[in-house]
Symmetry: C2
Subunit: 379 residues, 2 copies
Amino acid sequence: MPNGGQPTIVSIAERAGVSIASVSRVLNGQGARRDTTERVRRAAAELGYVPNAVARSLKGGRTRQLTFAVPDIGNPVYVAMVRAIQAVAKAAGYRLLLHSTDAVAEDELAVLRSLRDRTSDGLILVPIRITEAHIEALVEAARPVVVIGSLPPGVPVDSVRADSVAGAALAVRHLHATGRRRIAFVNGPSDTVPGHNRERGYRSALAECGLPHDPELVAHTDFGVDAGARAMERLLPAGPDAVFCANDQLALGASHALLGRGLRIPEDLAVVGMDDSELAKLGWPPLTSVDLGSSERGRRAVELLLDRLEGHRAASVEPHAGPEAETEAGEAAGAPEAPRAPAGAGAERAPTRTSTARPRLVVRASTAPTGATEAMRFA
Amino acid sequence: MPNGGQPTIVSIAERAGVSIASVSRVLNGQGARRDTTERVRRAAAELGYVPNAVARSLKGGRTRQLTFAVPDIGNPVYVAMVRAIQAVAKAAGYRLLLHSTDAVAEDELAVLRSLRDRTSDGLILVPIRITEAHIEALVEAARPVVVIGSLPPGVPVDSVRADSVAGAALAVRHLHATGRRRIAFVNGPSDTVPGHNRERGYRSALAECGLPHDPELVAHTDFGVDAGARAMERLLPAGPDAVFCANDQLALGASHALLGRGLRIPEDLAVVGMDDSELAKLGWPPLTSVDLGSSERGRRAVELLLDRLEGHRAASVEPHAGPEAETEAGEAAGAPEAPRAPAGAGAERAPTRTSTARPRLVVRASTAPTGATEAMRFA
DNA sequence: CCAGCGCCTGGAAACGTTTACCCGAACTCC
DNA sequence: GGAGTTCGGGTAAACGTTTCCAGGCGCTGG
């Protein structure tokens, strides 16, 4: 026993008095004579045999491992994705490798390149920003990749997006519908794709509602609670009666600023967050938030990936029972994108697919139109 | 190119006109003649060679992968651990495999057994409960394992524990010190080790403070926000002036129940949570919470594991600069445990190590002694 | 009864590395 | 100048599987 004393296919073959080929076949459920099967089975059981996954991977060329690379595992949105991805992967017999890029682009590129070390069969990447280098690396990736986020049109890579334009509009319309007229907006960094899109959604919904666009009511900031609080402080002089924040952390920060000043939510100001993360329910008052489908995006991403890996079944088979069932039709929504992959290299490569999650407004107490309503009780 | 067209050590050897052995040596930094080295380097670069990690693992008997198995990735405590573990693992050149046991014991056992498939070099396990079967599986684990949680004395497995007894006492003493006299307690399930320990800490601190133990003030429940809210409702008739909750989610739930009834925090009731997760800062009012060192436990766990794997350096080297530096001495605290491993099998196996994180109270607005204090601003 | 056809089985190659072993050349030291 | 030493590099084995290929045997059908 030169290894760790662990039995191998060879030990079994010896013990059962058959060849290793037969052992392998029996263990993989190929046909074999009754007594061969039995002898092998028994020997394996007696020895407590467990197949060596590494050897198997080497031979088979696949590891049954998927990599999920996120900027920051602490972010509730990504946690939701990890959760969904892990569940699907596990069910499909894949292990999940978690990688944190710490929001540095160079690290994202490194992950893409590291696909060539054969460690995992595919990658789900959440990039912070898409640069030229990203696109190049994506196109040349050695294994299937699914991007969670928006890709420029024409890039032949599967992706899953959130529709932040529609999401932001949803929030604004809701606030307008509940009687708010001076709707502030705390955005994240505006030089990102989602940042830009949220701004678009905000503006267009304002217009649609017949509200003027007042630059005094808009703040850009980093993500984070403290940033939200500070931004809120800055916006207060402009006299808003509602605030829409680019994510729940910002919204909670804003709430803190308001409550700290003795203002009441929603009586004095309504607050809307985005992502409908764990935090929304837990905040006080519970936060109305736009669900951009984090879990769903995670799930869709891993399904797309598995679909590429497993040939042509596995994904998109189940009806996805559950609250997100409505978003089934989310495909092919929004933008006029998803062109065929340029007839460059592979020729028979399946066409690139883009899935867009449909946003959904979750109303809670922080935007209740009157005082203590139903929703106010909690959650 | 029967594989995927990816260059192997053989392609390099051909191109450089040397043997594969030389290629391997050069690439692994072994000595070689100047021009050999150069030729190999160049060939590798031109071909864009990336070593096949699987083949390497097969030969070397290690994968440079660590597994972290948690009951539920959604829990902020585990998120903190994942984060810490991922960071340390990455720095040490290991990948992190994340496994969710969904809090089912059978799955925990499965993970332990699956260690034999050679997929990862070691395991960090957070069990929900330790059964006889667990202990057996732990002892027979094919690879090093570190348990995050309390192990019965004598089990020869490294572990990292939180001192919930001291933690609970810390909370109670703090509440007493700020003038509270009827301190309620919302505990999690009491048939778990931590559940039992928190109860012990609660009681002993009450006694120490000269407060009577009133069973009417204690509730057991599941974890979760709603559970916390319901428990709080139940306790209210007993007339508490403070409540200590077994984790932050429960505390937030309790807060919701209180605020929903128009009670003020901390004026009418003080609230203390546990874990000092993300949520504590984000709640309203920001929650005083007992930090049981989630990140630190994660970090210690992976360090212990790496220590076992890498022979005898790597871990416990750095001074762990940062706020937790004080907990350095946390070892050998608490209980009279950590006996030598029973002189059973391995003989020369390094002694089992147990590390205990020292709890730390983080005071925020939810327990401010008077009205609006410093801490109230937000934090 | 014999040819032929399947089903099982075993041998051996292959996946891509690392590494033990050995051999040849160059160098050093007497 | 010859022997001993050192260094570098090549050959091949090994890690544990899966799978291709052939061969053997038993059966069926003519």
